[in-house]
């Protein structure tokens, strides 16, 4: 069932929130052994939340917009009193002292927080394999990765455990797993959603967003979590406009940019074919297709792999076993070295090393400052393109889901999985991945990007395509 269907069923008294929560928890216990989307379910608190919703309904008061809707959160989001480990041994037992704004807003909107989902360690990865707590499997083929870093949140929705979940996207960590698991995944404009209470990877790139089965559901979740938060100075005051546009999905007057640089050598031929078919759907629906060029596209990924590790190495300096986590014995320096050496996994170490090198004396200007300049240039390139078009479309990922273990020892090959998504984070623009078909029985995603804070336009285009094709109606068969 979708977010809207569950919400309506609870509102109309066809189902109680407790019934839905109990069924959800039972389903996860029954089927998640094989998939491992969840690291933990919050049974007691979820049922307590559900009882509150049912009690509220019994009083006859109007229900909040997501009343009774089960939702999962990525393991890097704080929920007071519950473990948030960011997929790391470093924080294996860490319990947040407060609740992240996005989680609190979901609770305030009546959603039931079912549990926390597996992810790459500190959100560093594209396959969820760097988690210290085991792999998550792709519900479409359990020998394949679900993508990452928010692979658990994606798999939880794709498998049908929950109708929606939250992920975080620093370089594609929502859109890429959404593409690989055949669902909708949204990275909002930087500043649209609060980052307060999210364990930071790269603060100038991180943004929280939803996974769901339909564009409308994703928009409903976004509407609940977005907007200014005094605890995050980069969050922006908004006029809430996301949902209204979707109700009339249409292609009319839509100017769709197709960058020639988004079709690269080495991309799966089936993906090129499916994306071209998707473009044809836009065209036959009445949209104007405009061929554009974004020459800096190939520089987005190297820019990302400077800014992101640089910020990450600085953000992760706080994990030293002093105030929480495991304290290592010895002098101060020995304690730091051991706590960090033992607590961090291989990918996290690689990026801390890379970031520290980039920021070290002699290399700062050549790498970091250069990357910031390219970042500004890349944003300008998008700004110029959006004078001519309303949305830009292309593939979300250059490949379908790959085999578990296949790219684990080859960091550059793994990084290339995010080649089409990192530009959106660098430029701070919104992007959504929606299913556009199957290649070798594995889902393929179409990415739609828009100018900053133009999510409504993006939703309208995505919903029109979804209505025309209906790829999001497919669910994998899992027992």
């Amino acid at each position: 069932m979708t977010v809207r269907q569950i919400r309506d069923a609870v509102r109309d008294g066809k189902m109680t929130a407790v019934e839905i929560t109990e069924a959800t928890l039972a389903d996860i216990k029954k089927r998640d052994g094989e998939i491992h989307a969840f690291l933990e379910t919050f049974d007691e608190d979820a049922l307590a939340q559900a009882k509150k919703i049912d009690a509220l309904r019994a009083t006859g008061e109007s229900l909040p917009p997501l009343a009774g809707v089960p939702a999962a959160i990525k393991d890097n989001m704080l929920y007071a009193g519950h473990i948030s480990s960011a997929g790391s041994k470093m924080l294996a037992e860490y319990k947040g002292a407060y609740t992240a704004t996005v989680v609190q807003r979901l609770i305030d909107a009546g959603a039931i927080i079912i549990g926390r989902t597996n992810c790459d360690e500190f959100a560093m990865g594209s396959s969820t394999e760097t988690s210290a707590f085991g792999n998550t499997k792709n519900p479409w083929d359990k020998k394949k990765v679900p993508g990452g870093s928010s692979g658990g949140s994606a798999a939880a929705v794709a498998a049908g455990f929950v109708p929606a979940s939250l992920g975080s996207d620093t370089g594609g960590s929502i859109r890429q797993p959404a593409s690989l698991t055949g669902i909708v995944g949204l990275k909002p404009t930087y500043g649209r959603v609060s980052r307060y209470g999210i364990i930071a990877l790269a603060s100038s790139l991180d943004q929280v967003g939803p996974f769901a089965h339909t564009v409308e559901d994703a928009a409903m979740i976004l509407e609940a979590i977005e907007g200014r938060d005094e605890h995050d100075a980069t969050s922006v005051e908004l006029e809430n406009t996301t949902i209204g546009e979707i109700l009339t999905p249409n292609f009319e007057g839509l100017r769709v940019g197709v960058p020639k640089e988004y079709f690269i050598d080495g991309m799966d031929a089936d993906i090129t074919k499916l994306v071209k078919e998707a473009i044809a759907v836009f065209k036959s629906g009445g949209a104007e297709i405009v061929e554009i060029s974004l020459p800096l596209t190939s520089y987005a990924l190297p820019t990302y792999y400077i800014i992101q590790p640089a910020e990450a190495s600085s953000n992760l300096a706080r994990f030293d076993g002093m105030r929480y986590g495991t304290r290592a014995p010895g002098t101060l320096e020995e304690s730091y070295l051991d706590a960090r050496g033992d607590g961090f996994g291989v990918e996290v170490k690689r990026r801390i090393m890379l970031g520290t090198f980039i920021l070290s004396a002699g290399y700062f200007d050549a790498f970091y400052k250069k990357a910031l300049a390219v970042r500004t240039a890349l944003r300008k390139e998008f700004d110029d393109a959006f004078k001519r078009v309303d949305v830009i479309i292309g593939p979300t990922s250059p490949t379908v889901a790959w085999n578990l273990g296949e790219k684990f020892d080859d960091p550059l090959a793994m990084y290339l999985a995010d080649i089409f998504t990192t530009a959106g984070n660098i430029a701070g623009i919104p992007g959504i991945s929606i299913p556009c078909g199957f290649a070798n029985q594995l889902p393929v995603g179409l990415q739609i990007q828009a100018k900053p804070f133009a999510e409504a336009m993006m939703f309208r285009a995505a919903a029109a395509y979804e209505k025309q094709t209906g790829w999001s109606r497919f669910y994998p068969e899992t027992k």
Binding site: T234, S298, I306, S335, V346, L354, A366, A371, T376, L412
Partner: protein
């Protein structure tokens, strides 16, 4: 790795790098990062980091002479709020209970200066 400045036909300085001299002092960087590495990790990183650095050095190809380097791209500048202390006993106790070592309610840490 070595960087050198080269003047092109339009007389603007460009920074170039040479791949052949690529050399990353893994032990030094690990010390800066306060990161203990095993011998195996050190060896793997010594092989992998130069490859990644070669890849990201591709950015030197982009002409950014007319572009400002900006860390954030939002229009927000100087977002202020009043610095008001908020009492929250539940949070305070949760933070204290997470201390790996404590003396009563105080966090206990190793000394910065050795005796």
């Amino acid at each position: 790795m070595r960087f050198f400045v080269c003047y092109t036909f339009d007389f603007r300085p460009r920074l170039f790098y040479s791949i052949e001299t690529m050399d990353i002092d893994i032990a030094h960087v690990a010390k800066l990062a306060r990161l203990k590495l095993t011998e195996a990790e050190r060896k793997t990183l010594a092989e992998q980091l130069p490859n990644i650095v070669n890849y990201i050095a591709k950015l030197q190809e982009v002409d950014t002479n007319d572009v400002d380097a900006r860390a954030y791209l939002t229009d927000a500048v100087n977002v202020w709020r009043e610095d008001v202390a908020q009492e929250n006993e539940v949070q305070r106790l949760a933070i204290i209970s997470a201390f790996p070592k404590k003396a009563s309610e105080a966090l206990e840490v190793p000394g910065v200066f050795e005796k």
